[in-house]
Amino acid sequence: MTASAIEVRGLHKHYGHHEVLKGIDFHVGAGQVVCVIGPSGSGKSTLLRCVNRLEEPSAGEILIEGVDICDRRTDLDEVRSRIGMVFQQFNLFPHLSVLRNLTLAQRSVRRRSREEAVEVARRNLAKVGLSEKESAYPAHLSGGQQQRVAIARALSMNPDMMLFDEPTSALDPELVGDVLAVMKELAQEGMTMMVVTHEMGFAREVGDKLVFMDDGVVVEEGRPAEVLSNPRHERTQSFLSKVL
């Protein structure tokens, strides 16, 4: 049993009367890669966004490395700086060069010197294979390049874990591979990752655990190969028959 990086207990979330998460129990061990799949609207993004409290949970507990982030005494910004987040729409800062995208939070949150921030940024740009793009602006990059910059931006904070919300869903098919390759490399280095994705191949190959969500609940979870080839629940079977 690995130590818990993310521990979600009895999580509920509703918008008005619309209940989106109906009591989620969820666990990511340190160094684990957990992939979350499920039909559109099942609450995957909401769950992910509750983990760093971009969404306010309605009820339940969320522990990050054992610390309850819903406790008012917890410094939320400090916790967030240790959780990297990658969005479907990249969300790079369009008014800043690639390098400045990577140094902004290092300087403002980590209080690193300019030299140190630039050094960390360059190291992470090299890691995602975009060293030559450091002075480009986001608008001049392809979607795949933007997403890799977004990953490098998150990595530059030296996070303990990374959250990915459908990182390849907005990409042209031929650009998906580069992003997945970067994520796979991260996983092999032992990064703790929670990945909402439709890339079943990635989930099978890289994931330690696969979680299937539907209609605000976790329907089924287990080893990816197991869940994908031998789904136990009828809802999982019917979802997989549509996407595989």
């Binding site: 760093n52 971009l54 910004d77 400090e78 916790v79 967030r80 700086s81 240790r82 959780i83 990297g84 987040m85 969005f87 729409q89 969300n91 790079l92 800062f93 369009p94 008014h95 902004l104 939070a105 403002s108 949150v109 608008a139 977004a150 931006r153 998150a154 904070m157």
Partner: protein
């Protein structure tokens, strides 16, 4: 029968041109050109050496630009504070800002300016700094701030929510997120409407004329007004035409700039 649609359209167009030509010819025949020229473009007034241009430019335009810059800078600062208050999570800030904005956008700028220069001294025995012009400018800032607040608020709200989320997810605090991520993008969005605001302010400084000012503090309209009754073209409207040309020399390039910026922005949105 046999007037087709196309023929009828040509006929109508022809008639319109005929009316225009007749009007131009009539005007040319009836008008007494030498008299018109003496009254609107008086040779004494337009002389470079000793006509009206000197004061119109060195006093009028210089002060107009100076006052506009002050009113714009002050209005922008006030507008930014009001816009941030309107978007604040603290409800009383929102109420205060909304009340201020609605109040001052609902009044003629002139009323506020007169109130600052005359009403305040009468009511409270307190004169704002800078004399009459200073008081008028404060009034202008108060009104301009209300308009710019709405412009800036729209600009801030036009920055996609994902930008704030990305910054916050990196651990940036709300203040740093606003200053380093949201506002730089919002300002880019509002450059065209703010330039428009600048043009409106250039024209609003003419209201200062109604408050009165010392000779060296007069803006363009006041200088032109004084030349109606004094100087080489006294008794003619020449100085007003000259002032109009000087205003246009500033405002037309600016409105063209706005149009260009807006075209470019529309293209940049992908």
């Amino acid at each position: 029968m046999g007037v087709t649609r196309r023929q009828r359209a040509l006929l109508v167009q022809g008639a319109l041109y005929a009316v225009l030509a007749a009007a131009v010819v009539a005007l040319a025949l009836v008008a007494d050109w030498p008299v018109i020229k003496e009254n609107f473009w008086n040779s004494g007034g337009i002389s470079w050496a000793d006509g009206n241009w000197g004061d119109l430019i060195t006093i009028g335009i210089v002060n107009t630009v100076k006052y506009t810059a002050i009113a714009f800078a002050g209005g922008l600062a006030l507008g930014l504070v009001l816009a941030l208050m309107r978007l604040s999570p603290v409800a009383p800030y929102r109420w205060l800002a909304t009340a201020y904005i609605e109040f001052f956008r609902g009044l003629p700028a002139l009323v506020v300016m007169i109130f600052m220069s005359t009403g305040l001294p009468i009511a409270f025995g307190w004169t704002p700094p800078g004399g009459t012009v200073g008081a008028g400018l404060i009034g202008l800032v108060m009104v301009a701030g209300a308009y710019m607040a709405e412009t800036l608020r729209a600009g801030i709200q036009a920055v996609p929510k994902g930008q704030t989320e990305a910054a916050r997810s990196l651990g940036m605090r709300p203040g740093a997120t606003t200053v380093k991520v949201v506002l730089p993008q919002a300002f880019r969005i509002v450059i065209p409407p703010l330039t428009n605001e600048f043009v409106l302010l250039i024209k609003d400084t003419a209201l200062l004329f109604l408050l009165g000012a010392a000779a060296s503090e007069r803006e363009l309209t006041s200088v032109a007004k004084d030349f109606l009754t004094s100087g080489p073209s006294a008794g003619t409207a020449t100085s007003l035409i000259q002032a109009a040309l000087l205003y246009l020399a500033i405002t037309l390039p600016l409105t063209q700039l706005v149009a260009w910026l807006e075209r470019r922005q529309r293209k940049a949105v992908r």
